[in-house]
């Protein structure tokens, strides 16, 4: 899946130099808490040749799915449109779109030449009667058409919210089938919206908690391939894998890449005691970073690589701690009621997401990196394992339902706590990890 795109997405070209409404009326401030989503229209793209005909509708549908899926935008459905866009270059009749109360209008055109697909688009602030930013053009392969739709949606999202996008991204996770006492697990990768699912391992061994490299081309995970849990690295393109730590008599798990992509953090268990270590991808002896008799696990780097957040039960219960990247005295940051685990530093550096267990319920929450301003975003029988969207605005996690027929699923929620959604996948899923935005 990775293969077809790496070399073929030619990037983007600025189409025109129209005035940009930088701080115009068409703006969503995500942090302010949007209650009323912004209405927009995305008519079918204009097919500029016959081979492109099939993509004209599909592109508009994926863009609409991306934007409406955020909960920040609301599509004015095509059947309510009173005008059609038949010429991408012709001036827009804003009155037609004002009449249906679309505040933003996205127009586009698509053409296909051999295996190449070219997409152009423009975004308009309907009530201001002007274009928002410049038109852009993307080129890629026809197989990668969904990525171009995601790129358009990312650009629209960014221009209106002022935040980075996240639609052109992927998620690696553990695909699950079977009952709780015979659960089959395999690594899988998909687009963030569940499309283009591809399996990376078979289900002959338990696999757990995959994590993307900073460039999204490799995955660290834990596998019971030898019968004992050990950390592996897998190349997403070739699906080649190798074990990273196979010291006899130890278990290793909970791996996570360092921001430089050259080393990783992991937990190693010796004689029943679990500590955090750092090791190079090229091998060498793991460097021990914690040395308490407690369970120290689930480490995650700050985006600048200077600090590590992790969980430890050294106080008697699971709590969150921050320590310098080279080890050293950890500082406890969680002080609320209950237990805290699986901390993950936001890619923006501003927040730490975590799993909280309190009074028989599980929550996904966020707090500042000093532990302040804790907010719980979800509550259920079992929520765990948050992962951040590349823009640090959305969190995906595992939700397991209760009872003998309990099953796992992937959910996403806004960092505001709104817009809780189940990610559409076939079968069960757990342990999602969100990729960075694709190049």
């Amino acid at each position: 899946m990775m293969r077809f795109f790496t070399a073929l997405l030619m990037g983007l070209t600025v189409l025109g130099h129209m005035a940009m409404a930088q701080d115009g009326p068409l703006r969503i401030e995500i942090t302010d808490g949007v209650v009323e989503p912004l209405p927009y229209a995305v008519p079918d793209f204009v097919a500029e040749n016959s081979a492109a005909g099939g993509y004209a509708t599909q592109l508009a549908q994926v863009i609409a799915s991306d934007l409406s899926g955020t909960g920040l935008f609301r599509e004015v459905p095509q059947k309510a449109h009173i005008a059609k866009i038949t010429n991408f270059s012709a001036p827009v009749q804003f009155a037609d779109w004002k009449a249906i109360n679309a505040q933003a209008l996205i127009t586009g055109a698509v053409s296909v030449s051999g295996s190449q697909l070219e997409v152009k688009f423009r975004v308009y602030d309907v009530f201001a009667g002007q274009e928002l930013g410049n038109g852009l053009r993307f080129k890629g392969t026809v197989e990668g058409w969904r990525r171009m739709a995601h790129k358009v949606a990312d650009a629209v999202y960014s221009r209106i919210t002022g935040e980075g996008g996240y639609f052109d991204s992927r998620v690696v996770f553990v695909s699950e089938t079977g009952p709780k006492n015979d659960r089959q697990k395999r690594l899988a990768i998909m687009d963030y919206d569940g499309a283009n699912l591809q399996y990376l391992t078979d289900s002959s061994s338990i696999v757990l908690a995959p994590r993307f490299s900073p460039t999204g081309d490799r995955v660290l995970y834990t596998s019971y391939e030898t019968g004992f849990p050990q950390v592996y690295i897998l190349d997403v393109g070739s699906v080649q894998r190798r074990v990273l730590n196979s010291e006899a008599g130890t278990m290793s798990f909970a791996p996570r890449f360092a921001p430089d992509g050259k080393s990783l953090l992991l937990s190693i268990t010796r004689d029943g005691n679990t500590d955090i270590y750092r090791m190079g991808l090229s091998g060498g002896r793991p460097q021990r970073l914690t040395s308490s008799p407690a369970i120290d696990t689930a480490p995650s780097f700050s985006p600048d690589g200077s600090k590590i957040v992790f969980e430890s039960d050294r106080s008697g219960t699971q709590q969150l701690y921050v320590m310098p990247a080279g080890g050293g005295e950890p500082k406890r940051i969680s002080f609320g009621q209950g237990r805290y685990g699986t901390p993950v530093w936001s890619p923006r550096g501003d927040l730490i997401a975590f799993t909280k267990q309190n009074k028989g319920r599980f929550h996904i929450g966020v707090m500042r990196t000093d532990g302040g301003e804790e907010r719980l975003l979800t509550a259920s029988f079992l929520d765990e394992g948050p992962t951040w969207a590349p823009n640090g605005r959305v969190i995906m996690f595992t939700r397991e339902t209760q009872g003998a027929s309990g099953a796992s699923a992937l959910y996403s929620v806004d960092v505001s706590g709104r817009n809780l959604r189940k990610v559409k996948i076939s079968g069960g899923g757990s342990d999602p990890a969100w990729s960075p935005l694709q190049e």
């Binding site: 019968g227 278990m251 937990s267 009872g403």
Partner: protein, 170 residues
């Protein structure tokens, strides 16, 4: 690594095929190709030197309270029996599997299962079983035997199971 897994799987499959009571085999929650390779024959529960006897009569598992890896009185009694059996039947090796209930995060439960398995190993070693005959593995919450979401099931899942294996290394 691959070769070892395959061998382990084949031997386990053969053992299963040759066993009348295959449903009960591996009740400890180990899957085919689990830790260590080489399954012993199950044998008859009436034969005091058999795997079946160890599992059914001596008792292959101990249970733990929430979040704990401390052995209780009942657990210590079971383990005394295991230690004595292992000392008498010194051609057997064992992998001790530690497990947790589902009420915990995945990584923590892996570490907790490792503590439980280690507590059992330490007890057996303290009673004279050679450490080289024992290995430990944690399944965290990945291999529950009971699947209800209630304490009755959780109590059975918070366990350490001593699984007799020929080759306990990997």
């Amino acid at each position: 690594m691959n070769g070892l897994t395959k061998i382990g799987f084949l031997v386990a499959a053969l053992a299963l095929a040759g066993c009348d009571n295959s449903g009960a085999f591996g009740l400890g929650g180990s899957s085919a190709g689990g830790p260590g390779s080489g399954q012993y024959e199950d044998g008859s529960v009436d034969d005091p030197t058999s795997v079946a006897h160890f599992r059914e009569q001596v008792g292959d598992r101990v249970l733990f309270t929430v979040d704990q890896s401390t052995l209780n009185e009942e657990g210590r009694l079971t383990l005394l029996g295991q230690a004595n059996w292992l000392l008498e039947n010194d051609d057997y090796n064992a992998v001790i599997e530690g497990h947790a209930d589902e009420q915990g995060t995945r990584e923590y439960n892996l570490a907790l299962g490792a503590r439980r398995a280690s507590a059992v190993k330490e007890f057996l070693v303290s009673r004279g079983v050679a450490a080289s005959r024992l290995n430990t593995v944690s399944y965290g919450k990945e291999r529950p035997i009971e699947i209800c979401s209630a304490e009755a099931c959780y109590a059975q899942n918070r366990r350490a199971v001593t699984v007799l294996k020929a080759d306990v290394n990997f």
